[in-house]
């Protein structure tokens, strides 16, 4: 009774030199695919710092701190990525990020950082620029009174379609009002300038502050929040993937 090893070796031996060539060829392919396709990760290690582009603030995902750093869920993820690589994270706040509808005007450049974090939503637009590592799913939500006449639209997210939000507000029979800063949006809701604010659920909960209702908007598609590396920086992106837990569905529930 031939052993399993003998059964495997037999056809290879029958092929002789070709069998050896096929085995060597497969081993070579598996071997070369382990080669790093770029130097992005080794450059971060050499620089001994992970540069992170971020907007001036996006609570509760990135809440600015007095020391110039950030707290919040995305800040924790970035620190986990830096720890995975073995270097500290250094924030490179981009003052123009989020100002205006066109990201081309925000002044964020690949040369400014290794990783980008701050409300990046997986979409055709962001995928064209960056390799995304999705960490959570976030449905649209309404913070405040769903029957309000004026509903604020606060979307400090990169890659989200503002037109979709504005249309949804009109379909609710309300008048949309665009809001661009977190503190301003929260104030507008607190002092009644808007009856409610449409945004993604993590931000809606922060805006509601515990004393207002938050309702999921089922009619709009659930979005995916991501940490990003610039396109082509594959080895760094793999390090981010290793550090960032894959999309949990907690926010979507």
């Amino acid at each position: 009774m031939p052993s399993v090893a003998e059964r495997l070796v037999k056809p290879v031996r029958r092929l002789g030199r070709s069998g050896i060539l096929i085995v060597c060829g497969l081993a070579a392919l598996v071997g070369v695919r382990q080669l790093p396709p770029d130097a992005s990760l080794s450059q971060v290690r050499e620089a001994e710092v992970l540069l992170v582009c971020a907007p001036p603030g996006l609570p509760p995902l990135l809440t600015p701190q007095a020391d110039g750093g950030f707290a919040g869920r995305e800040a924790e993820l970035v620190r986990a990525v830096a720890a995975q690589i073995g270097v500290p994270a250094q924030w490179n706040t981009q003052p123009g990020w989020g100002r205006g509808a066109d990201p081309s005007d925000w002044g964020v450049r690949p040369s400014a950082c290794n990783v980008a974090a701050g409300g990046i939503v997986a979409s055709e637009r962001t995928r064209a620029l960056m390799d995304l590592v999705v960490y959570d799913r976030a449905p649209w939500a309404l913070a405040g009174d769903p029957g309000a006449e004026t509903i604020g639209l606060y979307l400090p997210f990169w890659g989200i379609d503002r037109g979709t939000g504005a249309r949804a507000i009109r379909e609710m029979g309300a008048r949309p009002r665009f809001l661009f800063e977190a503190a301003h949006a929260r104030d507008a809701l607190q002092n009644g300038q808007v009856g409610a604010i449409l945004t993604l659920r993590p931000v809606a909960r922060w805006l509601a502050g515990g004393d207002r209702r938050v309702d999921r908007v089922e009619a709009l598609p659930v979005q995916s929040l991501a940490i990003a590396t610039w396109k082509g920086r594959t080895t760094l992106n793999r390090a981010v993937r290793r550090a960032v837990p894959q999309a949990g569905s907690a926010a979507a529930r």
Binding site: S18, L21, G25, Q34, L35, R109, P110, A128, T234
Partner: protein
């Protein structure tokens, strides 16, 4: 009556299988083909693809157009098709050998139907080509292209189409040629333009309309890329592997069906003569 018909079918399939097996074993014993099968993916994906990727990096206001892939991801499906095309065409060399050494005469003098010999050669060449195309997928992780089982199965369709079409083209050429040298020259003259003119290694800007594309690229180049059936095989494979396509899906699938049927019919016609 029915028993005889069944026996005829079994005999026919047996003849197809015998010729198919002969083709496959011939390839497995050809060191040159094996070395080529493994070296092409390494050359195109690991050296050419990774080497050029930095020049296609995207950034805001830094690129002509933005696309959701890296360069190495863009060319990976094209390299799969290239690794299918080469062995598919080269497998037809066996027909010239067989004619040269009298095997064809002996087989054609036997009761074996010519169509069975033709199908055996066609499927044999296509099997070898498909297997070599699959080798490229081993390098998919290097290009950051995840290949799930569903992706793998879906990828087999455009790969099989290219394999059958080019094996048939190879058989058509081999049936009409008597020298190995002539076949080799014809094969290379066919393979390289078919590959390079298939939106394989340079992308036609997908965001441009036809009118804009004609302003950006020379009209003859745009025309040849659109007229080349290999373009659509690569486009289908690109859709399966990186969820990106440049051309209309229905057009691509119709072209692929025609791309298989026409060469197979032409090759069978040439083979019977």
């Amino acid at each position: 009556m029915i028993g005889r018909a069944i026996q005829a079918v079994v005999d026919y399939l047996g003849a197809v299988h015998a010729v198919w097996l002969r083709e496959v074993l011939r390839m497995l014993r050809d060191s040159g083909q094996i070395v080529g099968a493994f070296s092409r993916p390494v050359l195109w994906v690991m050296i050419f693809g990774i080497g050029l990727t930095p020049y296609f990096r995207t950034g805001l206001r830094e690129t002509t157009f933005m696309v959701p892939f890296t360069y190495v991801q863009f060319i990976l499906p094209a390299v799969v098709v290239l690794n299918v095309i080469y062995p598919a065409v080269q497998s037809a060399v066996s027909l010239i050998w067989d004619r040269e050494f009298g095997f064809v005469r002996e087989v054609f003098a036997s009761p074996t139907p010519r169509s069975a010999v033709f199908l055996g050669k066609l499927f044999g060449g296509a099997t070898i080509a498909l297997a070599q195309g699959l080798l490229v997928l081993v390098l998919a992780p290097a290009a950051n292209v995840p290949v799930a089982y569903s992706t793998f199965l879906a990828a087999l369709i455009p790969m099989a189409a290219a394999a059958l079409a080019f094996t048939a083209i190879g058989l058509f050429l081999a049936a009409r040629m008597s020298s190995f040298q002539g076949f080799g020259v014809f094969a290379n003259t066919l393979i390289l333009p078919a590959f390079f003119l298939a939106s394989s290694i340079f992308p036609l800007d997908p965001s441009l309309t036809m009118e804009q594309a004609l302003q950006t690229f020379p009209a003859w180049l745009v025309f040849l890329v659109h007229a080349n059936p290999v373009t659509y095989a690569i486009d289908e494979l690109r859709w399966v592997m990186i969820e990106y396509r440049q051309f209309d899906a229905t057009t691509a699938r119709l072209v692929l069906v025609g791309f298989v049927l026409v060469p197979v019919a032409a090759a069978y016609h040439a083979f019977r003569r």
